[in-house]
Symmetry: C3
Subunit: 377 residues, 3 copies
């Protein structure tokens, strides 16, 4: 398709290891025909012109009078001014520069210039959205949006509102470093403080990992005394031993559903029987080196306590921003946009799930890209 492809990947000899390794500086490609979170539902308000870059593209998000969220390319097709600088007229947006008006499908509905005819090309791209689980999900690809590709995270919807929380963090790192961090839970004893420690029980475990065409699942089970401190007080015997599990499932492009719980009787070790929580971590690339990181959590204990709910979100921010965050940021600064595998990472038992995700995601992106190249000819 494009001759410039020969430039997409350049090689350099990195001399900073004992052997000459071939580091690949890559042009980062994203999976496109899939659902990313564009925003927390609560962040796109009634009359706002919310805007954000997603996959290196400027996106305008707003709500129609009936509350439905819409997304347009945040770029007027006339002179390329961002539409968010303009104003709302009902469900339409009017460009700040020359007052072209577009409806929420991106069609031009008013041209104040000349004879007022609307040029055929005066069309803004609109992006399909789904609003579910407290998030606005966006489809950035060219293929028809497929709602069935959004996994079922319905557990988030089910229960007391004070047991559910959502949050957002911006990070200047590649989104795969955030996926790595969650897929490899062995880091928690090393990076995090006492509150979510497994007291060294997790690292020696090799998780059971299962993979299918569109998911990678990992599961750890262990016992510890006392239970993880976030759960101990809600168990029958806070100071006693408890069985625990982590169960995490990555689905493309960048969502990880994580369940964790503790139990002190002989029932099956699943969230229904445990004191535990159901989390969703999902990462949306802003660019190759910056990410919108979204998080939701529902717990099954102390469900009516709004203050506890707020404390839980503050603790999640503190853990990520003070503990994981600096390490991940420093790793990004060290790696730049060099391809992960070209750096010959040492792979260990704790990497099995994370590496399967990287490989499956890479395969899905290459497959999508090959399809595009065939389509363009």
């Amino acid at each position: 398709m494009i001759g410039a492809d020969v430039h997409d990947i350049t090689r350099r000899v990195a001399r900073n290891d004992n052997k000459e390794e071939m580091e690949m500086e890559r042009k980062v490609e994203f999976l496109r025909n899939c659902w990313y979170v564009a925003a927390l539902s609560r962040d796109v308000g009634g009359e706002d012109m919310f805007h954000r870059r997603i996959l290196d593209t400027s996106v305008l998000l707003y709500r129609k009078a009936d509350g439905e969220a819409v997304a347009l390319h945040d770029r007027c097709p006339h002179r390329f001014a961002p539409l968010h600088l303009g104003r709302r007229v009902g469900d339409d947006v009017v460009c700040a520069y020359h007052a072209l008006r577009f409806d929420c499908s991106g069609a031009c509905t008013h041209n104040p210039h000349g004879n007022g005819l609307i040029p055929k090309a005066a069309k803004v791209r609109s992006f399909p959205l789904l609003e579910k689980y407290g998030f606005i999900w966006i489809w950035m690809g060219e293929q028809a949006a497929d709602p069935s590709l959004l996994p079922d995270f319905g557990v988030l919807d089910d229960g007391h509102p004070n047991a559910l929380a959502h949050t957002y963090m911006h990070m200047d790192v590649n989104y795969e470093l955030i996926i790595d961090n969650v897929m490899d839970l062995s880091h928690i004893d090393h990076v995090h403080s006492e509150i979510i420690s497994t007291r060294g029980r997790l690292s020696p475990l090799v998780p059971r990992v299962r993979e299918d065409a569109n998911a990678v699942n990992a599961r750890w089970e262990w016992s510890q005394t006392p239970a993880m401190l976030i759960f101990a007080d809600f168990l029958p015997a806070p100071a006693a031993e408890a069985r625990h599990f982590f169960d995490i499932t990555w689905t493309p492009p960048a969502s990880i559903q994580l369940s964790v719980g503790a139990l002190q009787d002989g029932r099956q070790l699943d969230l229904g029987n445990c004191v535990g929580q159901y989390d969703l971590h999902t990462a949306t690339p802003e660019s190759a080196t910056s990410t919108h990181y979204f998080f939701a959590t529902r717990r099954n204990h102390k469900v009516e306590d709004a203050a506890y709910n707020e404390m839980k979100i503050r603790a999640m921010h503190a853990a990520f921003e003070n503990e994981d965050g600096p390490v991940i940021q420093a790793t990004q600064d060290e790696m730049g946009t060099t391809d992960f595998f070209s750096l010959n990472p040492v792979l260990m038992s704790n990497d099995i799930a994370a590496v399967r995700v990287r490989k499956l995601l890479k395969k899905l992106i290459e497959s999508e890209r090959a399809g595009e190249l065939r389509a363009v000819g």
Copy 2:
């Protein structure tokens, strides 16, 4: 000429529109054998070493004892220290690093090293200047400077000093976005406040556009009630209808002469018969994405009022910095250095003049560049 030319233009598939569009990231080339404004005359003072980047080149501007302005490449040919760090000795400049001394033609006049012989290569490039209309104009090209290529803006010189004002603004945008803004006056009702509003009369008009080998002219005529507020109070019947005109002429590389006026009798609609003003907008590229924007204006009413004169310039700054400026800056941020036409802009009646300028300027640059490549072989 140079093998690297194959890298000048790369293509990428931009997926941010419904169809796959071919956006061209371009290496920005400038027209060089022509006159750009280097500085306001008043900004280059008696003993100053004024320096500024113009077309990506460091330029030193200063005045000789007799007041004549001179321009040198702001780079010592010895070790490449900027000459503006040095000091003046009469009409010469002495480099701060090793004290080589150059006269205002760029010839080395003193070498304190070794036997003191002046190396043949010890020469600084000097740039031809013309000082006219309150500006210092510079010729950055390799061909002989041709004073006849500077258009006649003599109206600026003719009249009371308190009816004439000059100003300068720096913008981090490509200079063609500033030209676009002035060439397409339909934006004024949408971007600007009441004071220069045409009350919606301008957008529906299709300007008369004329083009020759070295100029693009556009003219609008309309009536409105009351007249534009900047003129109404100086007309016989401030609240009544008035006929108006805009007449703008772009000349290469980046000067736009704009006349505007209002009239309430049956005479011919030209500046001589109107209450109006004669403006010059002229843009000098600092780099591909930053611009020195110069402006001069002469009005034919309230000509002795110095305070009014100052208010006019403040209003021009406020309009540009608060109204056009943010839109143009956001457009730059959205476009980067992507070629305008490769983005498939929707073209409308209000774009006729601006697009003709872009196309003529592009043709002139390509023609100059082809000549250079032939010359280099």
Copy 3:
């Protein structure tokens, strides 16, 4: 070896000189199989995890319990987190992210994951160090470190501690601009203040320059009245004429030993007979456009005066930071990474030594690089 090499050097036609000159934008290569200063000895403390980029590589420096300094690549081979974020355990370092532990040879000594086996690839590159003359010297190349390649600067070690001082400055310039500055001492009368002035005697002199396979030496001798002010008060007749010398020797990659002294009798003009000082200037590239600049000095007068010692270092900082520094920084900004010789510098008698250093260093780098390319195949 690598196809991408064709991109290493691109050419552009620079139109900012009277003739079309071919400026080469170069990929900066460094000499690697040699000794650079990594740090002042005093800057790497007992329990510190000192880190710094050297030749575009992240380096961790620390001291073992026995005081020996060690250097590791500051990048865990597992997930590429910088090791300096971790913690010390005895002479080992533990990665902050997943707690892999490495000894000071870079060997992994503990893996808390899975079965605890240590992957064969879990190895951090270590860099040979030499600690001499108050500096920690590092060998960044792939060949075996050769201590005999570190020149003898033993004069620094010999004498009263209050006559010896070391310092460090960071500069956002290419390291060769710093070498140029020291190799061409003719600048001192033009850039610096009275205190080290030769009163114009130096510039007219053509130094005697000698070059061998691994060194460039330059020597100036002159008389002035009074002596350089830094020495005059320590001479028998402070106001009288004195003979002076500068003797400087560059050795690869970037060390310049400078001796300077003044004498008022008929003995041989060398440091042993003079009031003078023995300096070492040495520059370590952080990147192509930033440099760690280290300096040491030993004087042979007022040797017990600690306050004078401190004043001398403050004066060195003031001279460099206020006088040379701004000129060198501005020169860097003007040159970018354009190759020095491609800019056709005017070469004068004062450039002889500096230009020989540039040419010899270039030859050594090209030779080393050619060897590497042959080795890689």
